[in-house]
Symmetry: C2
Subunit: 210 residues, 2 copies
Amino acid sequence: MAMVRRGNREERCSVTRERILDTAIGLFSTRGYSGATTREIAQQAGVAEVTLFRHFASKENLLEAVISHYSAIPGLKSFLPRALEMPYEQALIGMADLFLDTLFQLRDWIRIMHAEVQRSPDKLITIYHSFLDELFEIFASYFRELQKRGTLRDFDPDLGARVFHGMFYSFFNMEELLGRRDYRPTDRARAVREFVSLFIHGTLAMRDSR
Amino acid sequence: MAMVRRGNREERCSVTRERILDTAIGLFSTRGYSGATTREIAQQAGVAEVTLFRHFASKENLLEAVISHYSAIPGLKSFLPRALEMPYEQALIGMADLFLDTLFQLRDWIRIMHAEVQRSPDKLITIYHSFLDELFEIFASYFRELQKRGTLRDFDPDLGARVFHGMFYSFFNMEELLGRRDYRPTDRARAVREFVSLFIHGTLAMRDSR
DNA sequence: TGCCAATGCAAGTAAGCGCTTGCATCATAT
DNA sequence: ATATGATGCAAGCGCTTACTTGCATTGGCA
C-alpha cells in the first residue's frame, strides 16, 4: 500500500484524512451510504481499513465529517454587489453561471443529501435547509433591490428567487444528477441565455419586437 | 401472520404480490435499495420472507418489478387538447396543477430513481429518460402550437418546456423530496399563480400595468 | 373426497458487513 | 540513539444479509 511517507507528522496525518474524505464522498454519492463499504473506501483511498477507523470512530462519523467538510458555500454571495452595478440581463447571466458552477462543484455533496435526507438524523436536514435558505436569500435580496429601484415590477421576490433557482437547478439536475452526460447534452451557454431571456421578458408575444 | 385467506387462487396470489410491491416501493424510497431489507419488506407487508422470494426471484428482481409497476404516466397528455381551447394563463395553471399532482403521486418512484440511478443498470436510466422525454414533449408541443398561432413569441419551445418543468419540479423537490413538510410550507396555489405569471410576463417593469 | 397451489414456520447457509486486536514497520521528533 | 506516533498486515468477532430447504397448514377446485 502506498503509505504517506513524507512530510512532518501532522501533515502526514491530515493528508491521509483528506484522502479518505475524498474517496468517501465519491463512494457515498454513487453507492449511497449503505451501499458504500468501509473496506472499499479504504482500499480506493490507498489506506488500510484499520487506518480509516483510526481517523473516524465509525462509518456514521465518517459521513458526518464528509458532509461538514464539503458544504462550503462559494463566492456567489460576493458577486451580489458587482451584479447591482451591471445591466439586468448581464447580471442574471453572471449569477446563473456562478450558480451552475457552484452546483457542479457540490454535486457529490448534493447527491448525498438527496439520498440520505430520508433515513437521516435531523443534522443533515438542518444543514441542507440552511444551505438553501442562504441561496434563496441571495437571489431574493437582489430582486428586492431592483424592485426598490423600479427596474423590476412588483412580484414576490422570494417566489421569484425560487423560479430563478428552479430553472437552473433542474437544468443541473438533468445534466448531472441523472447519471448520464450524453442525455440531452444541451449547450449550457445557450440554455442560460434563453432561460434568462424568458425570465426577463416572459413568453407572451405582441408587446414589442424584443 | 395475516395470510390472505379469501378470493380465488389467482386473486389471492396477485393480492399478495401487490402488497409486497406496495411495501417495497415505500421502503426502497425511504431507506434506499441497499438500506431496505427483504426481512423488513416482508414483515411490513404481512407475509413471510420466504413468500417474498417465491414471488420475486431476487431483491434486484423486486426492485425492477417495483419500478416498472409504478411508472405509469397519468392524464397530463390528455389535458393538452383541452388546454389549447383555454386562455393561456388558465391553461398554464391547469397544466402546472396536473403536473404537480403527477409528481406527488409518483414521489416514491421518483425518489428511487434519483437514489438508484447511480449504481444502476442501464434499465433504470432508460426508463427515466423516456419518462422525461415524454414529459418535455407534452409541454414543448403546447408551446409550439401557440407559437404557430402567434400567441407566443419566438423562443425555443424545448428550452421553454425545461423552464416550465424546472419551476415546478424544483418546487416539488423542495416540498416533498427534501423530507420535511414543515420547511417553507409555501401555499401551493399562490406559488403556481406567481410562477405562471412570471413565466408569462417576465420580471421587467415598465411595459404595461399588468 | 382428494389433490394442489399458496402460504407459513423454523432452521440454516454462505457471504459480507462494521469494527477490533496484536504486532511489525518506519520516518520523524527529541 | 531512542522514543513516538502514524501506518500496514493478518486474523478474527459478532452480526446481518440475501436466499434456501423441508415440512406443515389451509383453502379452492376437480
